[in-house]
């Protein structure tokens, strides 16, 4: 059973009551169908109310759910014949980033994704989804190939942030990320980025330069982790909840701010309640944008991506 959040408990409580009633009714052969029906209506309303009014911090929790689907869960549902390619040809193969080629609805694409583990062992292997410079250099190598062979690029963002240890510093973490930003901004192929879980800071942004930026309904994308923001501003990591609200990091916030192009629906309660449904929704939305982008000329794709990046930011020009 999926790990439950505090805010989900009233729902579970009611569902348990329903199950008890049904069991009782079956055992004693008493017709309780009207009572069950009333309770089921109540559950459905409660779900709508709770899941429909999730606070930013609750979405952060869902986005970080240990059972939230990762790229490897989506890959077989979204693609045919995904071939993973490894290594940056310079130092190592970083398992916090996966990349390769796949067919998306018959179209050959290059896919790049950050991958968190599902358990401690896998998380150690994948450094909790926090890529080192070799991960970004692998991504760049594969994306450069996509540009060379004219394949659209699909990226999937799910990272708490770039690796932040001494090894990352020694190998030039900043440069590795910066190179991705510069290179992708100049590509002539369609680039569609989707935040599927956590979008943590510059480490996420390295895969976040696209013609289209999509976000799953319960994903978030932030300049800094809410905990770190709370620690810096209020010297108190327990105020992460406030920071999550103040920084406007939810998919819905980013859509309002003009950064995300579309919010992709998740099943009630989050993607982990129904992987296939989430994958189907995502596939539909990606397909919709890919069809549009494939009609654009290479020059237009580059120019429009540049103008999209150029337009992000808010300021006021003093009239002269």
């Amino acid at each position: 059973m999926a790990q439950l959040f505090e805010f989900e408990k009233p729902i579970i409580e009611l569902e348990r009551k329903i199950a008890e009633l049904q069991k009782f009714s079956a055992e004693k052969d008493i017709d309780l169908s009207r009572e069950v029906e009333t309770l089921e209506k109540k559950v459905s309303l409660l779900k709508k109310e709770i899941y429909g009014n999730l606070e930013p911090w609750q979405k952060v929790q869902i986005a970080r759910h240990p059972e939230r689907p990762n790229f490897y869960d989506y890959a077989p549902l979204l693609f045919d014949d995904f071939i993973e390619l490894k290594g940056d040809r310079l130092y190592a193969d970083d398992q916090a980033i996966a990349g390769g080629m796949a067919f998306f609805r018959g179209v050959p694409v290059t896919v790049i994704a950050q991958v968190k583990g599902k358990d401690t062992k896998e998380n150690i292997k994948r450094n909790f989804g926090m890529p080192h410079p070799e991960g970004y250099r692998k991504a760049l190598r594969l994306m450069d190939q996509a540009e060379k062979f004219g394949r659209p690029i699909l990226t999937f963002i799910d990272t708490p942030g770039a690796a932040c240890d001494l090894a990352a510093e020694e190998r030039g973490q900043g440069e590795a990320i910066a190179r991705c930003l510069l290179a992708v901004s100049g590509y002539h192929v369609p680039v569609i980025c989707t935040v599927i879980g956590e979008g943590g800071s510059g480490g996420a942004l390295a895969l976040g330069v696209g013609n289209v930026i999509l976000m799953l309904e319960n994903s978030f994308y932030s300049v800094i982790a809410p905990e770190s923001c709370a620690s810096i501003l209020w010297k108190d990591t327990s105020k992460a909840k406030e920071a999550a609200g103040a920084m406007k990091i939810t998919a819905q916030d980013l859509f309002k701010l003009g950064v995300a192009d579309e919010v992709v629906r998740e099943p009630q309660g989050g993607a982990h309640y129904n992987l296939r449904q989430t994958a189907d929704e995502l596939s539909e939305v990606i397909a919709k944008y890919l069809v549009r982008l494939r009609t654009e000329s290479p020059e237009a794709l580059q120019e429009k991506r540049y103008q999209k990046l150029r337009a992000i930011g808010m300021f006021q020009e003093k009239s002269v």
Partner: protein, 304 residues
């Protein structure tokens, strides 16, 4: 007048031993011994590297470089400009772009006002064109005194515009970075300034124009992970701290103690991340030498 007689003299506490490095090689922290010496406040400053007490006026006259050990103190963008550019050659750009508070972030208004007062400028970047030893160039500076040079919408926009104008004018670009990274009070908009500035520099590169990035103390986070790392040539000032994640955060999140000297300009050069380490006094002449190689259509007395 009488008040002055009774006025308390302000004292500073100085340390008699040189400031400790981050840690000793075995990882133990050295606790500095403090001895009180009576020095009037505001006239003197102690060098964090050699411990020498310096007369501030002397320090300023030496471009804020320690007269004893050459430790490079932080310096404002304007002061840097004065050291670099030919006299009266600077034309400032985009000085009238005002910061908004797009997220209505708690306390951002007051922080901005404080920063504006402290730095004496309306935002944390200074951009424009100038001449260095007669060579025209586009210049940009982060301002450390303005929210630690953090990059919000205005800083990103000013740098992107400066780079775009350099393309129109076919001029090389030199950017001096000093920054803690992205500005969290502007959230995701701030994060995407990294992409915006990098994209502009991509266009500069596609136009075969030179970009020299000078990394100064401190350069971290979103600025390291964008324009500061994208120079054709990367220069750092001696002893500048440069990295992606700040030392405090590495310590907190990874429980990893950094070795002494980690993330200095010298450390970065040793790891192949920096071309040159250039002292402040040599910066102007070094930039001029590098720029001279990239002047379009200019011959330097070629005989072949």
């Amino acid at each position: 007048m009488f008040k002055d007689i009774f006025r308390k003299t302000k004292y500073v506490t100085i340390q008699s031993t040189p400031a400790p490095k981050r840690t000793t090689p075995d990882g133990a922290r050295q606790e500095p011994k403090t001895v009180k010496k009576e020095l009037p406040d505001g006239l003197w400053v102690k060098c964090p590297k050699c411990g020498e007490v310096l007369f501030i006026k002397d320090l300023e006259e030496n471009a804020r470089v320690c007269t004893t050990c050459s430790y490079h103190f932080r310096i404002s963008g304007r002061a840097r400009l004065a050291l670099l550019a030919d006299e009266n050659s600077f034309e400032e750009w985009d000085s009238e772009i005002l910061t908004l508070d797009p997220l209505e972030f708690p306390g951002y208004d007051e922080k901005l006002l404080e920063a504006q007062e402290k730095a004496g400028m309306i935002e944390g970047a200074l951009t424009g064109r100038a001449m260095i030893e007669g060579i025209p160039v586009v210049l940009a500076f982060n301002e450390a005194n303005f929210m630690m040079g953090s990059m919000g919408s205005v800083v990103g926009e000013k740098i992107a515009r400066a780079v775009e104008r350099a393309i129109d004018l076919r001029l090389p670009v030199v950017i001096f970075s000093t920054s803690g990274g992205a500005r969290m009070q502007e959230g995701i908009l701030s994060l995407y300034q990294m992409a915006k500035t990098s994209a502009a520099l991509g266009r500069l590169a596609a136009n075969h124009l030179l970009y020299i990035s000078v990394l100064t103390d401190p350069t971290f986070g979103g600025v390291t992970a964008s324009y500061a790392s994208l120079g054709d040539i990367l220069i750092a000032e001696p002893n500048a701290l440069i990295g992606f994640t700040g030392p405090r955060v590495i310590k907190q999140t990874m429980r990893q103690e950094l070795p002494a000297g980690a993330q200095t300009a010298e450390f970065n050069q040793m790891h192949g991340l920096i071309d040159l380490i250039v002292e402040r006094a040599q910066m102007r002449s070094t930039l001029a030498r590098l720029l001279r190689y990239h002047q379009e259509g200019v011959q330097h007395g070629a005989t072949v």
